[in-house]
């Protein structure tokens, strides 16, 4: 009897599934999550939004937020290249897209204010399942990128 019961239970045992969840992450070309920018510098910085998933056949759309501190203003202190603004559409075969930010001289820079610009991944539209935002894990690493003007 016991053997029979054990056999019944063993037959229903299913192998645990590997951690195979698709995720999206953001960073600079060095894999960093933040950078300081001189308040008087004029330069263009490039971020990369990456998909980690299986091959897909329908476009995947990634939305991100741009959170600007009270010391900076989009269009004045920085400009995002229009073709890299949210949402980003990943066509089948594309797993990385840039987000380009041109920083301008901040004429009235106030170091006491919040001079950060944060690019935060928000959501993903896809038909291959739900995407995790950032690296897998409780800390959601690489889910956002912070520029700080100094």
């Amino acid at each position: 009897m016991i053997v029979l019961a054990a056999t019944a239970l063993w037959g229903c045992y299913e192998e645990p599934q590997p951690l195979d969840k698709p995720f999206v992450y953001i960073g600079d070309e060095a894999g960093g999550s933040k950078a300081d920018i001189g308040s008087q510098a004029t330069l263009t910085k490039e971020l990369f939004v990456n998909l980690s998933c299986k091959k897909f056949t329908e476009p995947i759309v990634v939305h991100y937020d741009v959170i600007v501190g009270d010391g900076l203003k989009e269009g004045v202190d920085f400009v995002i290249q229009s073709t890299t603004k949210s949402p980003l559409t990943f066509k089948p075969g594309t797993y990385e897209l840039p987000v380009r930010v041109q920083f301008k001289k901040s004429e009235n820079f106030d170091a006491t204010k919040d001079n950060t610009v944060t690019f935060a991944l928000k959501s993903v539209e896809s038909n291959i399942g739900e995407f995790y935002i950032g690296f897998l894990g409780p800390d959601h690493l690489r889910s956002s990128y912070v520029f700080t003007k100094k």
């Binding site: 009897m1 019961a5 019944a8 229903c12 263009t44 073709t83 380009r100 041109q102």
Partner: protein
């Protein structure tokens, strides 16, 4: 009771098996699709394809386009295809299998796919077409003609690559017209916008039409990198490029301050006296002496605002070639071969009043052998003149070996052969000899042609020592620059080199700055890659901030370019193109005077109409640039 318990357990176990592990409801993907369709080289050996060709599948339109190179027979194709889950494919109701079905695509063929689980079906029409099999750019240019005065010259990247860089001297924060050239069936977008395909120009009357060029133009905002996508739907290929714009302002740091135009020959030399700071340029000019017209040697000096002749002009007896120059403490030495004495080496010195012969013409040749190339000369702090030659013939009496390295010295009264250089084998073939004074010592560099190595020697207290013995810059180097390279010595004893090297198999020449470090040449910053070629000419100095400044001839553009080190990135700046046609085969010089001013010279080739013959003839111009910022 016990019996009842056993039966209950048995029933429970069986139930558990049946409920948990019994047959599950079959899953269906709910679709009938062709997911891939490829004509592989392996399955179609008779076609002699060099690669596989994937068809373009449109699931909405129900089409499969098989695009193959022109000339490929499409009557007996064996496709390799995959279908979505549980599907079967049929043609004219007959089932077909991937890799086992031969099809004639001279006419469209209808393929039906049926999902056996959910009975969904779909039809595809398969057709064949021709493709060049590529989607790529062959040209990228911001043409001056398209950009209405915003550009003074065409701006192109150094090479076509997935990421390219171009330098703008003007304001890059505005819209420019970009022109690219793609291939057959390509569609080009720039920053997501469809570019405009240009109509080919009509041929002139009587002329054949030029080969088709697929030229696209678009207006792009250059304040950001430009994303270019080239799509060939027939080939099913998409290629992406990024063009990054950098500010090319380094050229604005330099100004042309003088030139010597309409020279009959490209021969010249420049040197700055390290004691007085005076800049001298030696060149030829056509003159008639005793009814003999020839291109004789003249030396000029920069007086701060213009070049003035030093002593008598055209002072060589006849044509002067292979000119080199050395100045120190107010004395100027000009070394050249003079046609008047069968092209023997001649050394003249200007002592402040007149040009005078040093020794007897051809005397030095006896000791060191005549070199058929420019002989580097250098004057040491104690006033001795050294010349390093590559002998063009054996002179047994003087121990001179053809193509060996030999150094002659003028001590103020006579020439002599200065011993065996650092124990070097006199028969070891060398070119590219260079001399430089660093501190109080004289250094000699040579390129060992057979070994493709560099050796450096030091002459101190009347004796030579080998400092660097046959140094190989890179284990993969298969060729080093034969004629052009630079060595510079500094008052603090530092010695630097700029040398060209080509890595095996790459076909590309790199220009690299080195510093003498013990018995090695230590690389300083990364190599500069700009297709200079083995006979390109370059020279360098260090600015007031200690950053190297380097001028070189670019074989690609046939112009002279300047680079320095960006203080922020600590890498070489985008090469500033001076925009003037340079003439290769002659040196580029860059030196700093005692005031810290940096000068550069190079030869520019021009053309003019000879009024007597009515023919176009070449003329040469020495241009003198000064770093002004």
């Amino acid at each position: 009771m016990k019996k009842f318990l056993h039966i209950a357990l048995l029933i429970g176990a069986v139930s558990a098996l049946m409920c948990s592990c019994g047959p599950k409801e079959p899953e269906t993907d709910g679709k009938a699709e062709v997911t891939s369709f490829v004509i592989t080289a392996e399955a179609n050996p008779e076609l002699e394809l060099t690669r596989n060709y994937g068809a373009v599948i449109n699931n909405v339109e129900g089409t499969i386009l098989v695009a193959l190179p022109e000339g490929v027979e499409v009557t007996k194709l064996v496709p390799t295809f995959t279908l979505s889950q549980d599907d079967v494919a049929t043609v004219v109701d007959a089932p077909i299998e991937s890799g086992d079905w031969m099809v004639d695509l001279t006419e469209p063929v209808v393929l039906k796919v049926v999902d056996q689980m959910c009975l969904v079906e779909k039809e595809y029409t398969i057709t064949a077409g021709t493709t060049d099999g590529i989607a790529e750019l062959s040209k990228v240019v911001f043409a001056a003609a398209d950009n209405n005065g915003k550009l003074t010259a065409d701006v192109e990247p150094i090479s076509i690559a997935s990421t390219m860089t171009v330098g703008f001297t003007g304001d890059a924060n505005q819209t420019y017209t970009l022109t690219v050239e793609a291939t057959m069936d390509d569609v080009v977008t720039m920053n997501g916008e469809l570019a405009t395909l240009q109509e080919p120009a009509a041929p002139a009357e009587g002329e054949e039409a030029a080969p088709t060029a697929y030229v696209w133009k678009g207006n792009v905002d250059c304040s950001f990198p430009i994303d270019i996508t080239v799509t060939d739907e027939k080939a099913g290929i998409e290629t992406k490029y990024v063009v990054k714009i950098v500010k090319d302002t380094y050229g604005e740091s330099w100004a042309k301050v003088a030139s010597i135009a309409e020279l009959p020959r490209a021969e010249y030399a420049m040197d700055i006296d390290p004691v007085t700071g005076d800049l001298y340029i030696a060149h030829t000019e056509t003159s008639t002496v005793n009814d003999v017209t020839d291109d004789r040697l003249t030396v000029k000096k920069w007086d701060g605002s213009k070049l003035v002749t030093v002593g008598e002009p055209a002072f060589s007896a006849k044509r002067a070639t292979y000119i080199t120059l050395a100045a120190r403490g107010g004395k100027v030495y000009a070394m050249y071969t003079d046609n008047a004495v069968s092209s023997k080496l001649t050394v003249m010195m200007y002592d402040g009043t007149a040009w005078k012969m040093i020794g007897v013409q051809g005397e030095m040749d006896k000791h060191t052998g005549l070199s058929k190339w420019r002989t580097p000369v250098e004057v040491t702090p104690d006033g001795k003149l050294f010349a390093a030659t590559t002998a063009n013939a054996d002179i047994a009496d003087y121990g001179v070996v053809k193509r060996g390295l030999h150094v002659g010295m003028w001590d103020g009264t006579a020439w002599s052969h200065v011993g065996t250089v650092g124990g070097r084998d006199a028969a070891q073939m060398t070119y590219l000899n260079r001399l430089a004074v660093a501190g109080n010592d004289l250094y000699l560099m040579c390129a060992n042609q057979n070994e493709k190595t560099t050796s450096v020697y030091k002459y101190s207290a009347g004796a030579w020592t080998c400092v660097v013995n046959e140094y190989k810059m890179d284990p993969r180097v298969d060729e080093i620059a034969t004629y052009f390279g630079t060595m510079k010595g500094f008052a603090n004893g530092d010695v630097y080199f700029a040398l060209g090297e080509k890595v095996y198999g790459s076909g590309t020449w790199y220009l690299q700055l080195f510093k003498l470090a013990g018995d090695k040449l230590e690389r300083v910053y990364s190599p500069i890659q700009d297709n200079q070629g083995s006979d390109a000419s370059f020279d360098f100095e260090f600015d007031d901030n200690g950053a190297p400044v380097l001028a070189y001839y670019s074989g690609k553009t046939e112009t002279t370019k300047l680079v320095t080190i960006d203080p922020d990135t600590q890498t070489w700046t985008y090469p500033a193109d001076l925009g003037e046609g340079s003439y290769n085969g002659n040196p580029t010089y860059m030196q700093k005077n005692t005031k810290g001013e940096i000068f550069m010279t190079y030869i520019k080739q021009n053309q003019k109409l000879d009024e007597e013959t009515g023919k176009t003839v070449k003329t040469y111009e020495v241009v003198l640039y000064k770093k002004v910022k």
